[in-house]
Amino acid sequence: MVLFLGCARLFGWDIHAPGILSENFTQLVRAVDERVALYLPPELLRYESKDKGSWSADPQTYHVGEAFGPMLVEGFQNGFSEFIFLETRPTPEILARYGIHRLAVVRLKDFGNRVTWKGQSLTLATETAVFDSGMKEIDRFESRGTSASEKIFSKKGGPEVNLNAALENNVRAVVQHLQDVR
């Protein structure tokens, strides 16, 4: 039994989302005229969610961060006329130097995976803190992106696209919230 369990962990779904937004996103999100910066904690880009499965299910590994990071960048590119990505830890001096009046820091909060006999529902929850040029926090909000569908495991790329849709819906919520509360 122990030997079997050790082996069973090797079987399963290794799910990489395409990591690119759909055409639908650009139709729904219009760029606003503002300079906005984005900082992503390194752990976000490395985040993976592992579902060990059960007696009737295969284990699943969702490579969330590797897709979510590029999708956030693309979402901000589409959402703001001047987008700056911070690869270094933000400081008030950096924000002042580059004239950044709003900085968004996005953190992962929760990744939900619900698989039933009929389908699957994926939800990504994030928390975004918004800072002004003095690094004073001026806003904080939580965003969720969900994609639920049936029979996705029967299609080539089904789990991958379902994951992509959940991530994209989160990106859309983040970008549109930032646009709304300017």
């Binding site: 079987f11 590029p70 700056i84 990505f85 002042a96 580059y98 992106g145 379902n162 849709a165």
Partner: protein
């Protein structure tokens, strides 16, 4: 996916980079606040999936900063979410993105089993039986234990949408304020 980046977009980025590079040193001359040394510099990177350039602020202490996006750099076509509709057959919506090829995992498992580091022959024989329906395309065999399931939408949502009535799948995108 579009092949190239519009010239206009490149000009805007080049302009933004120039402004970021040139303006700060001039600010003290204009009587603005004293700018601290930030040990940063501006570079232009290309989006790993679209190729569209964007401005990035990196540490100037690192002469060759590594691109933070370390995932698969292969460029895929944009996904068409109509393929999530259970009434749509897989062949109706072409898909050229990544997909989980579990056969490779089977080979790895068999290899490891042969050298005796991961499971025995009983495991190898039993596991495909448990997953065979999925390999053949059946969804029913994949009843995973529910993970940390996110909460439902609240009345405090600032923004929430659901897929159109014509769609047989649900997409939600929502956001709500939190106390600072």
């Amino acid at each position: 996916m579009k092949g190239g980046v519009p010239t206009g977009a490149r000009l805007v980025l080049a302009g933004l980079s120039l402004v970021l590079l040139v303006t700060p040193p001039l600010m003290p001359l204009m009587g603005s606040e004293v700018i601290e040394e930030t040990h940063t510099r501006v570079i232009v990177r290309e989006h790993p999936k679209t190729g569209k350039p964007y401005v990035s602020i990196v540490s100037s202490d690192d002469p060759d900063p590594k691109d933070p996006f370390t995932g698969p750099l292969q460029k895929f076509s944009r996904p068409d979410y109509r393929m999530l509709d259970p009434k749509i057959k897989a062949k109706d919506i072409p898909y050229h993105g990544p997909s989980s090829d579990r056969r490779k995992v089977y080979v790895l498992a068999a290899t490891l089993a042969t050298v005796g580091t991961a499971g025995g022959a009983a495991g190898i024989l039993a596991a495909p039986a448990a997953t065979g329906a999925g390999a053949a395309g059946g969804a029913g065999a994949y009843l995973a234990g529910a993970g940390a399931v996110a909460g439902t939408a609240t009345a405090a949502s600032v923004y929430a949408t659901t897929g159109s009535k014509e769609d047989n799948f649900i997409h939600r995108s929502e956001s709500k304020e939190k106390a600072i």
